[in-house]
Amino acid sequence: MTSSKIDAKIPGGSLEDKWTTYRSTVHLVNPSNKRNLEVIVVGSGLAGASAASSLAELGYKVKVFCFQDSPRRAHSIAAQGGINAAKNYQNDGDSTYRLFYDTIKGGDYRAREANVYRLAEVSGNIIDQCVAQGVPFAREYGGLLSNRSFGGTQVQRTFYAAGQTGQQLLLGAYSSLQRQVGMGTVKMYTRHEMLDVVTIDGKCRGIIARDLVTGKLERHFGHAVLLCSGGYGNVFYLSTNAMGSNVTAAWKAHKKGAFFGNPCFTQIHPTCIPVSGDHQSKLTLMSESLRNDGRIWVPKKKDDPRKPADIPEDERDYYLERRYPAFGNLVPRDVASRAAKERCDAGYGVGTSKMAVYLDFAFNTKRYGQVEANKRNLHNPSEEEIIRLGKEVVKEKYGNLFDMYEQITGENPYEMPMRIYPAVHYTMGGLWVNYNLMTTVPGLYALGEANFSDHGANRLGASALMQGLADGYFVIPYTIGDYLSEEIRTKAIPTDHEAFVEAEARVQESIDKLMNIRGTKSVDHFHKKLGKIMWDKCGMARNVEGLKSAIEEIRELRAEFWKDVRIPGTANEFNPELEKAGRVADFLELGELMCKDALERNESCGGHFREEYQTEEGEALRDDENYAYVAAWEYMGDSKYELHKEDLKFENIKIAQRSYK
């Protein structure tokens, strides 16, 4: 039974009508009252920028915070492959229901139906909005929008702008945000880091932020606070996330009463550039869109010394096509990642480390070349001519990704297959939110990757951009009214209120504590160690012993961190090491909770693969009887957490074992 401490507030009515009915009955705030209501938005990625600009357009007074030097640099900028929307422009059978269905199934039946349906419903509006802003999506010769396929679906519903979709979407949202900044309706605080939320009488009323240039702490009041602070994949140290991505905002909120949902649900992305040495500071994704045109294989023979091009077709194992004929190279990420690990663990990996598989474009380059030759009316083109034409097509589709691959590895992917391996990429877990996107702290919301809401145990490709923008453009502008309509009589609370004073003092205390350790080891030293524990024991495969020992190891590492970390410089200046230290301190707590959550969930589902629970063919074995719930963890003090469960009901979809065969 769902814990009495949480209420998902799912509106009544049939699945198709919930959102429409909600929108037409939710309480509104009249325009003159909106001017007196202040909203704080932490984060300027797709979720934050879209929410802030939309709320400012409606008339709210908005403040936005980000730690980079410009809102345009939020991590969303790095998204490559695309954004989903159920437009059915390709006439290939797509619909709101199908996107809903694919997302629930892709998430291995661990997401909330009502939220996912709403997401699918508004997906089309997102594309309209972005195009109106001037986002240059890829187009066909007829001038209409182009689509491609992503994993876990059999329709083409992914909109894209070469391999820079996130950049173009974020620049669209950023320009809307800057427009409001120019009009004075949004005040932007760059190079600022939120370090705590302030609660008064049980409601969230503001934040404490540090100006990263001067080191000064600031107090900011808001009638409501939206955390749009992104995901926490960097708890693994190596991930595809930007260097600064962190859990601090969400974690501080968690410690102030916001429950943390499904912390162990992590997405390991199958196609990333493999680790090349100890110096490695991050991993680079090669977009899932490449699996449209790239075929994944390993040699059939162990330790085959031949160059990939010299290995004949019948000596190659296209293992995804072999194991999953229906979806082939386009199986969802969790499935593709595990399959790559399985081949490498069995000794079939390639490259010097043997921890890589091939992603090969030769076949499709040739196919494209042929099509292109036909289009151009070339009769009997030579093999070279075909390949040259094919390479042009591939370049147009993925040029920037191919260049990036060559920069990093020194190898030319137009000439030889890429070598790829899975890497940490995204976190489905995050702050628990209800249908309104509100956390368990009234007035505190979480949007985008920072919340747990829509992707269950595995996110489908191109759905994070969709969710971030849905939350910001189309959901929060309505759902926030439900709360703020009750707040119109609340005057702005002066920041000399004792709750602000106290919160600031506590933040100051913890900064002083960090600065005063003056130990011997760098922050990165601890971060790398934590990452290794997490990757080995709470990564692609998990088991009871591993998780138990991970919890012990993390506790020891945390104690050592607080005794021996060295932070140079002072706290009242620009000090990137201090910033990192605060973030790693929070990761050292989160890591433990992730392991605890993984240990508690005695089943395999999506990205959470517990070795004890698998089918004979090595597929994830869910336990719907006992685990069809969201785990929402309440912070109860140092290393103490209480589990609350939100039961998931599937009334509009038949729950079944996921099959991509």
Partner: protein
């Protein structure tokens, strides 16, 4: 697994915007050719921290060449010796064992130094806020495919939109002009039907803001285009100039 390159680095150190800076010399050893330039800095910083010295502050985030945050002026060239590459995507295989590498921040009046290699580029945000957008509120849009756009226009707009706002163009220019950056945004929107209603107003406001920020004039030397990591073309400046002149004629 480290490598075998040994290098001498001369790095700009400056405590804050009000203090004077100077080049300090450091030796780094066992650098692998597979490291990125920033990873080489990570190695150096780790060493400095262990020795009890202050690490070098520099901006970076995505390390994938897309966020535009990294910004080092390497051997007299923004983002270093390779064309079409940001500092974070520059790899040490582009250097030789024994090399001396000079690393400075972007230099421009409009980009004051914050510390060491970090500068303040908020002028770029203010330029965008002055007009780098289409005024369309959320929910006002019609169906996306109601606005067909010829593929060539869409592609050219996309090429302009690829700008990452890094500021290398300013750092490369002897006049510290921001024309390439501003023209990229102006062009992107001028090439698309959505951008037409505000086309001439936009170019005037953005150029006005650019001048106010203290960027220099453009004298067509083309250094910006040569150093731009995203290949933003000079033809955008020409397009912007045409629009700017047309806007002036229209308003008189």
């Amino acid at each position: 697994m480290s490598g075998n390159m040994n290098l001498t680095l001369k790095v700009w150190r400056q405590k804050n915007k009000d203090s004077k800076g100077l080049l300090e010399t450091y030796n780094v050893k066992n650098i692998s050719p597979d490291m990125s330039f920033l990873e080489m800095f990570d190695v150096l910083n780790e060493e400095l921290i262990t020795k009890g010295e202050e690490p070098i502050a520099f901006d970076h985030d995505c390390r994938e060449g897309i966020c535009g945050m990294c910004s080092m002026y390497i051997n007299g060239r923004p983002h270093g010796p390779k064309r079409g590459v940001t500092t974070c995507q520059l790899h040490m295989r582009s250097f030789k064992d024994g090399d001396t590498i000079v690393v400075e921040p972007w230099r421009a009046t409009a980009f004051p130094v914050i510390k060491d290699l970090s500068v303040d580029r908020s002028a770029f945000d203010r330029i965008i806020a002055s007009g780098g957008f289409v005024s369309v509120n959320t929910g006002n849009a019609r169906d996306a495919n109601n606005i067909p756009i010829p593929k060539d226009d869409a592609d050219t707009a996309f090429d302009a939109a690829a700008c990452i706002g890094c500021g290398a163009c300013v750092a490369a220019c002897k006049n510290a002009s921001a024309m390439l950056f501003v023209s990229a945004k102006v062009s992107q929107l001028a090439l698309l039907p959505q951008g037409q209603p505000e086309r001439y107003m936009r170019v005037q406001s953005m150029v006005g803001q650019m001048d106010e920020e203290g960027f220099g004039n453009c004298t067509n030397t083309g250094a910006c285009e040569a150093e731009c990591p995203k290949g933003i073309s000079l033809s955008n400046i020409a397009r912007m100039n045409r629009d700017y002149i047309a806007a002036g004629l229209g308003s008189e």
